[in-house]
């Protein structure tokens, strides 16, 4: 399975009368793109903004982000969201780098907001924590159709605090479809250009015997080919599929720091790292995806057993495992570590420190076998963010006090993707 990523780099973006690449600058036809996005009656309106690194801008109420990609026939761009349900991860994909599509919206009826706030800063310390502060972003701010704000509707009743009402789930999916349509639209516009860079992703069997490594990927709020993993047994996926748009984050009600956006899947830190060392230092055997948050201990055991069995079928001798955050997901995550170590598969765990004060050990649950942990930072620590000239996304935070444009002292938890266990970021925590 060979994926060719043909990358064109946009060094800037601006609105213009046509969508095209002009001397390295992405020009966007705002009206045409708005019309495309407003095809979905879920939206009453959408506002488009371009923000750049160093702009005195704070974006709040961010739901997700994606990188522009276009995968012409016989491929499929973001299968089931934009393109037809076809396997991705092989053939050529056009990639437009240097820009992300960010989606923003107020909450709708029956949409819990406790974990929903997510902030992207284009200036100051927040901007250094993720890719979004270092590239140009096209921000899509959606205004929902009034039916989505009608709390008296029967489908506005909260099903549970994680996913909210069925109305809210539908709205979240609409926002993702719109985001991915915009991403496809932008990348398609550069299709005719000679790419700046081509990179092949293929797991060619190494000529020498190298440690066989698998990656256990715990998904929370993400779909695989549009399907939620909840209730499913772990399954195998080729790393190319993750990088090529098969894994889309559809839930916004996840701590922002731990939220692995669609963008972070397209440039998944651990997958990219394992790929970079494949054939040289290790033999990358594949990715095992599994759902987070079953709340039954027998299901957790079964899930962990099944995931480790898949690793054994792949001949794994070593594994990386990432933790999506949350209480229940910690248990199956740690059980996988235990069962791997007992099966002779050495594991490294990548996880954010989501609970507690500085003096708290911070674990929801752990097993003594968890001897190798990489921390993506204690996200309950405060970080100081500067006052900004402009706020995109709303007049007020969901649950935080104060005016969003003012200087803020808030938890890392609110900064989109800064502690994702996909390993993209540089945050860590140390014991003092």
């Amino acid at each position: 399975m060979r994926l060719d990523l043909a990358t064109t780099v946009a060094r800037d973006a601006r609105f213009s009368e046509a969508t095209r690449l002009a001397r390295g600058v992405l020009e966007i036809d705002r009206d045409e793109l708005r019309t495309l996005l407003l095809e979905d009656p879920a939206f009453e309106d959408v506002t488009l903004d371009i923000v750049r690194p160093g702009d005195s801008v704070r974006i709040i109420h961010v739901m997700d982000a994606a990188e522009p990609r276009w995968k012409p026939d016989p491929g499929s761009t973001f299968p089931t969201f934009v393109g037809p349900p076809r396997t991705v991860g092989e053939g050529t994909t056009r990639r437009l780098a240097g820009i992300a599509v960010l989606t923003v919206s107020d909450a709708v009826a029956g949409e819990p907001t406790y974990w929903r706030e997510a902030i992207v800063d284009m200036v100051g310390p927040g901007a250094e924590l993720t890719a979004f502060g270092t590239i140009t972003n096209l921000v899509l701010t959606f205004r929902p159709n009034p039916t989505y704000l009608d709390a008296s509707r029967s489908d506005a009743v909260i099903e549970n605090i994680m996913v909210g009402s069925s109305l809210a789930q539908r709205y979240n999916r609409s926002v993702r479809v719109a985001e991915l349509k915009a991403a496809a639209y932008l990348a398609r516009a550069v299709d005719a250009h000679e790419p700046d860079e081509r990179r092949a992703y293929e797991l060619v069997p190494p000529p020498d015997r190298l440690p066989r490594v698998v990656y256990f990927y715990q998904l929370a709020g993400a779909t695989v080919y549009g399907k939620a993993m909840d209730g499913m047994l772990p399954t195998l996926i080729h790393p190319n599929e993750v990088l090529d748009g098969a894994v889309v984050n559809v839930r916004s009600n996840v701590h922002a720091s731990n939220r692995t956006s669609t963008f972070a899947n397209q440039q998944h830190g651990l997958i990219e790292e394992l790929y970079a060392r494949h054939g040289r230092d290790l033999d990358f055997r594949g990715v095992i995806v599994y759902p987070a948050a079953s709340d039954d201990i027998n299901e957790k055991e079964l899930l962990a057993e099944y995931a480790v069995k898949l690793a054994r079928l792949l001949g794994a001798e070593a594994a990386c495992a990432s933790y999506s955050g949350g209480g229940h997901p910690a248990v199956e995550f740690m059980l996988i570590c235990r069962k791997c170590e007992r099966a002779g598969i050495r594991t490294v765990l990548v996880m954010p420190e989501i609970y507690g004060t500085p003096d708290d050990p911070g674990f929801v649950y752990f097993v003594p076998e968890a001897e190798r942990i990489v921390s993506t930072g204690r996200t309950t620590q405060l970080v100081d963010l500067p006052r900004v000239e402009r706020v995109i996304g709303g007049e007020a935070f969901f649950d935080l006090p104060g005016s969003p444009g003012d200087a803020q002292r808030l938890l890392y938890r609110y900064l989109l993707g800064c502690g994702t266990s996909a390993g993209n970021g540089r945050l860590t925590a140390r014991t003092y």
Partner: protein, 349 residues
């Protein structure tokens, strides 16, 4: 540059007052440096001078801890220090506790930075490591010069209000405080490095050490359950409707107790769950399913238990730090003991 004023605390032995025979010596003071103070002053160099040495006998301190700490702080206060150095106490238990207590009292009462030194196995380490800077020493006075050098260096850093680095760099015993910072490399890169390193048999260092929780041995069974008083405790956040004491839904900092006198069953119009970590829909339909008052009352009537205590204790587990949780447990356990209950049913969610 003016030299920083340093006060040195020693026990009777290192202050040259005498050995075990003088361990009952009450707090006293000498001008300038005494004994190991010479090494301390050398380590401070031009940056500081030892303006006074305060001492106390180890037995005296352990037998009159509150009084001794107050007296020592009063002696130290007169010299308006910028820094207080205590010990090092090496592996001496009583001396270690005295150094820890003095440093804590000085930091709290005078708001002056302190540094002490102890061997990692000194029993005082567990009590004080989280709130004090304790430089790791050897087992005995052979390590005195090296220990005092590190204590002086760390003391100067603290007295100047500079940022204290990692324990392995500065030589103090880790306080167990986790702080977020930026690493030189992505988490993914660090993870694969760690994995491959350990596959090659190289030493690796976890970025997040596992905690070492104490184990609680289960008590012996209740002899006569039919006569026993049973209490209910829950982490499930069941409170009187309206949450009158504003218990936090997550990251709780407090617990509460409420009366069950005359309550046969928890009705949803008078009780609710304010827990922020689970879906409370069902709990709010029937609060008894988290705090089983209805069933306990039945068991009381049947004589299966002696009686249900008319008070229950409640907190919220979601995200509560273990430090707070430990405090909740200690405070609630004291009250439960005072209520002479023989058994507790603890319901979690």
């Amino acid at each position: 540059m003016t030299k920083l004023r340093v006060v040195h605390y020693l026990n009777q032995f290192f202050a040259g007052v005498g050995g075990e025979d003088r361990a009952s010596e009450p707090p006293g003071i000498r001008p300038g440096r005494v004994g190991p103070g010479q090494l301390l002053e050398r380590a401070l160099g031009d940056a500081g001078e030892v303006v006074a040495t305060v001492f106390c006998g180890d037995d005296y301190f352990s037998e009159h801890e509150e009084h001794a700490a107050t007296a020592v702080v009063d002696l130290i206060r007169r010299h308006e220090p910028d820094l207080v150095i205590a010990g090092p106490a090496f592996n001496a238990g009583r001396y270690g506790f005295a150094c820890g207590r003095v440093c804590r009292a000085v930091e709290e009462a005078l708001n002056v930075p302190t540094v002490t030194g102890m061997h990692r196995d000194n029993p005082a380490v567990e009590l004080y490591r989280q709130r004090l800077y304790i430089v790791a020493s050897g087992l005995n006075a052979i390590s005195m010069p090296a220990t005092l050098e590190r204590m002086a260096a760390l003391g100067l850093t603290r007295a100047r209000g500079q940022r204290v680095g990692l324990p392995e760099d500065e030589g103090y015993l880790a306080r167990g405080l986790r702080f977020t910072e930026m690493a030189g490399r992505s988490a993914a890169g660090r993870a694969v490095d760690m994995l491959l390193g350990s596959m090659r048999g190289e030493a690796w260092q976890t970025e997040w050490p596992l905690p070492d929780y104490d184990r609680v041995p289960p008590p012996s069974p209740i002899k006569d359950i039919g006569r026993a008083t049973i209490a209910l405790v829950t982490s499930g956040g069941i409170v009187p409707k309206g949450n009158p004491d504003r218990i936090e839904s997550t990251y709780a900092t407090k617990w509460q107790k409420y009366s069950l006198a005359g309550v046969d069953s928890l009705s949803p119009d008078r009780w609710q769950s304010i827990h922020g970590g689970y879906d409370t829909t069902r709990a709010n339909e029937d609060p008894n399913r988290v705090l089983p008052v209805d069933v306990l009352r039945e068991l009381e009537t049947e004589g299966a238990i002696g009686r249900l205590l008319d008070t229950y204790w409640v907190f919220v587990g979601s995200g509560a730090s273990t430090t707070n949780a430990r405090r909740f447990a200690e405070e609630m356990a004291r009250e439960l003991e005072a209520s002479s209950v023989e058994g507790v049913i603890f319901t979690a969610t």
